[in-house]
Symmetry: C2
Subunit: 323 residues, 2 copies
């Protein structure tokens, strides 16, 4: 945040173009969250905190409602908005207090993600093949990432690692964002269709699975990108360790079980159409499904705690039942 | 087949354009199988049988080798080629014998698929939600289809059915071909990302899963489109009946278990690029993944018999262990 503007990477343009998006008002930041210009648990949280600060600066603390309605599943969004609101409303200097609290949340996010890397790195042995779903790297947070932070920490310690990045239809965050991050980090990797997970597990090609989280219920049930549940069930079947990596701000104590995690249903256009770059370098949107058919597009699913080997947080690794 | 040409639906253009492709020589037909102009277990088998007949007509019975090398997984391909070859080589009139045997195989395929519909229809109750993977409808066979034949039979008997068609990345046979078939048949349906299967199962939205098969081993292990294994494992977890529908020509007695089913690895371009129709109606190929990243593209996986509730054949429904 600089002045009253929030700056963020325009993630919808990645991996084809790198651009910084400026959101001048809290309404602009809401729009950026809703349209996934900024996406990923921690990045949504940080952006929402700054949006709340913008709302105070614009003398619209009632903007809280609109910010909280941008995306329903990500817990850090509600966590950040509440922290900034509570701090500002009780301060003599609400605008400054709001900004400072939002900044503190963003800095904590980066710090916590670095610690997730330190803890999680111990799970990764030299030569391991790691599968991950969606994007829970530095793009999804303020820095370092959650699921990918242990991978980066392991690689920086000199361990050889190989990452299978699930494509993650319909939005392709694995194929686009995780692969882009991994290429930038110089980490050997392959994009795989979401369909290929169990096949690779059955062939002994996957040693560990690490994914992020959008919301963790009090009993350890975890809401994350659609498709996570399938990987967790298959991992259990093949005896492959399945870890969630997330800062404790992702835990929703008011949410007793996974049944209480709201699941966002997004537009079926995200399934029916795909954007990509043509031979000439022009971005194009093409219909990839049968014209006239509709699609379902639940954006998240809930993985019951029984499939989760452990949750990697900034405070250490914990079994979901001991959360 | 008419004269020495084989005619088939150009499936790569569907659902955007309907066109009949003419393969004038056995080499043309090989090309059509390899590039998936014709695809689907039964349709590949029929095309391969006719290709073998073309090879005899062209005085090239040695073309068998090339026909058999087009695609490694589909059992019906080897079944049809062997039948046509054996019949022709032992006949006084090999060209006519080859054509007649290829035609018999195609007619049997349609007849067997019709019977699969009659047997499988009994599994479908009024109001059921059916999930299917890839395309195992009439496009994938000479007529009727395997997995979709029971659905069509149920609908024609007046039962209300709803189909969730898995998109089936990377080639999108569910989103393109199954959805197109279902729309043509007037059957209510939704395309879902492959990632959404377990989520819908966990919510009680799926009553039965029916898929096709490319090769069934003697012990009932089944090779089918990549992603089938994930659905089968998840179905078992949620107690949802999981059926394979396939004519007995798909059974490979010389293949003791699933470990012996060869898995075709296709070009990673199928994952990295997507074709679709733009707003102006032009077909375009766009890069949908991170430039510079590679992809894995195993085209099939093997579902162990223990996850399969039953196999629907033209002779009736059998448990895999009683195959």
């Amino acid at each position: 945040m600089d002045g009253s503007s929030v700056f963020m990477i325009e993630q919808n343009l990645l991996p084809f173009e790198f651009k910084i998006h400026e959101a001048k008002t809290y309404k602009d930041t809401c729009h950026a969250i809703r349209t996934m210009i900024v996406r990923g648990a921690g990045a949504i949280g940080a952006a929402a905190g700054f949006a709340m600060a913008q709302a105070f600066i614009e003398n619209h603390p009632d903007g809280r409602c609109e910010i909280e309605s941008t995306r329903p599943t990500a817990q850090t969004l509600f966590y950040a908005v509440k922290r900034v609101f509570d701090k500002a409303i009780n301060s003599k200097y609400p605008k400054r207090a709001a900004f400072e609290e939002a900044l503190a949340i963003a800095n904590e996010d980066a710090q916590h993600c670095r610690l997730i890397g330190e803890h999680g790195e111990k799970l990764i042995k030299d030569g391991m093949n790691i599968e991950t779903h969606c994007n829970a790297g530095w793009l999804a947070f303020v820095d370092w990432g959650s699921a990918l932070s242990p991978v980066y920490a392991a690689a920086r310690k000199g361990k050889n690692v190989f990452v299978y990045a699930d494509e993650t239809r319909p939005r392709g965050q694995g194929a686009r964002l995780t692969a882009w991050e991994l290429l930038n980090e110089g980490i050997p990797h392959k994009i795989i269709p979401d369909n290929a997970g169990a096949h690779l597990m059955s062939k002994g090609k996957i040693d560990i699975i690490i994914v992020g989280a959008d919301r963790i219920a009090a009993n350890g049930d975890t809401g994350n990108k659609i498709g996570t549940l399938e990987k967790a069930i298959c991992a259990k079947e093949y005896g492959i360790p399945f870890y969630i990596a997330a800062p404790t701000s992702t835990i929703d104590k008011d949410c007793p079980t996974g049944k209480d995690i709201p699941i966002e249903e997004r537009s079926d256009k995200e399934v029916l159409y795909q954007t990509g770059r043509d031979k000439e370098g022009t971005m194009r949107e093409v219909l990839v499904c049968n014209p006239g058919s509709n699609a379902g597009n639940p954006a998240f699913d809930v993985t019951p705690a029984k499939y989760i080997t452990g949750i990697i947080t900034e405070k250490g690794i914990v079994k979901p039942e001991n959360l």
